[in-house]
Symmetry: C2
Subunit: 196 residues, 2 copies
DNA sequence: ACCTTTCCTGAGTGAGTGCTCAGTCAAATA
DNA sequence: TATTTGACTGAGCACTCACTCAGGAAAGGT
């Protein structure tokens, strides 16, 4: 059996960092090879093109982020659906501050330009968004069963809440507004939508 | 007499279209010169660098968009502040569908990468966002005076509403969700935040 | 020992880039 | 009429980039 794919992993990690910090176009394959301490050819041995590498970074982000989110929900026993919604919002904001550079990747960069012509890219993005929205949706449905949330369209309301939270994170990463200062207002506003 | 500044104007128009359709990096100065029917040197005669041209496109968008918004509000006599908020939301969504490609420009592209190192770029973006948020804010304040809107923090609520509307437009332009199908839900939800 | 497969290398390639600059030409000015 | 000005040109420059390829090293199998 060949050596464990340590170089491939190293390339992925460095690429994630550089793409996040400088963006797709301002990161050359040469930059990545230098920063990893690996020959340029090695990168193309493991990833067919630069775009493929970029997609691999997105895929890894997707898996890690969705995984963390589900793990968090499994570990926390919320007593009501409403609390679960609030917990999900908090966790999203928390992750955004912890993995700030990778959220940049998701919000700021090249993906939305590739996506229309690249089904795989589009699929990753779609999967990220729909997973997150579905988490909010499930929480709302649960809340409606336990009576902590009033009768609203779970799907539509979940989408609005997600849009709101994600939009604030965006403003934050662009330094246009400090999202954290709106945390109270955000939670309060969502509660106003949902409370019976 | 050859029309004054017609070439400069033509370059700006074509550049707007190409930057919107293909993004900053996938549009070369050569592309713009060919599409305009103008020599490459002409472009650099009118605009110092490619980035300058890109900024001129943003500036023009800013002026046109804010201008249109203010004009719309001047022409419509809303009877309450709440109606004004709803009118502003509608107008924003309407503009987004009419000027779709230019909203792409605002949402998708290079500006947020240039902005941190380019005060002029940052200023344009900041001006666009704060103008829009302030429109919502003023409407809320008016609504609080005429009693159509309850006691909330105008600034914070305006920011949340703007984030929400803008976020939906984003999902729409990325084809992740049809924002228009949420129009009713959006208006209804904002009303729930504001009504006494 | 040998062979095969996988992993890795880095100088090299050619297409493409933003930008320059010597020069053209028509209109304005003297 | 002679001169100056300023919009405009496009071949060419210096440079960067993603990607290739011939070949070497290491590990596994027999």
């Amino acid at each position: 059996m060949p050596r464990p794919q340590s170089k491939k992993e190293a390339i992925l990690q460095v690429a994630t960092r550089l793409f996040s910090e400088h963006g797709y176009w301002d990161t050359s394959v040469n930059d990545i090879s230098k920063a990893t301490g690996v020959a340029e050819g090695t990168i193309f041995y493991h990833f067919q093109t630069k775009e493929d590498l970029f997609l691999a970074v997105l895929q890894k982000f997707k898996e890690e982020f969705i995984g963390k989110f589900k793990q968090h929900l499994d570990e926390h026993e919320y007593s009501t659906g409403l609390e679960m919604v609030e917990g999900a919002i908090s966790f999203y904001l928390y992750q955004a501050s912890m993995m700030e550079e990778r959220f940049l990747l998701l919000h700021r960069h090249h993906y939305y330009q590739i996506a229309p012509n690249n089904p795989k890219c589009w699929q990753h993005l779609e999967e990220i968004y729909s997973s997150l929205i579905s988490i909010f949706e499930q929480a709302i449905i649960r809340g409606q069963k336990d009576g902590s949330i009033r009768k609203v369209s779970p799907n539509k309301k979940a989408l609005l809440i997600f849009t709101l939270v994600d939009g604030l994170v965006r403003l934050d990463t662009y330094n246009l507004y400090k999202a954290t200062s709106l945390y109270e207002e955000l939670i309060e506003s969502c509660r106003a939508w949902l409370k019976p």
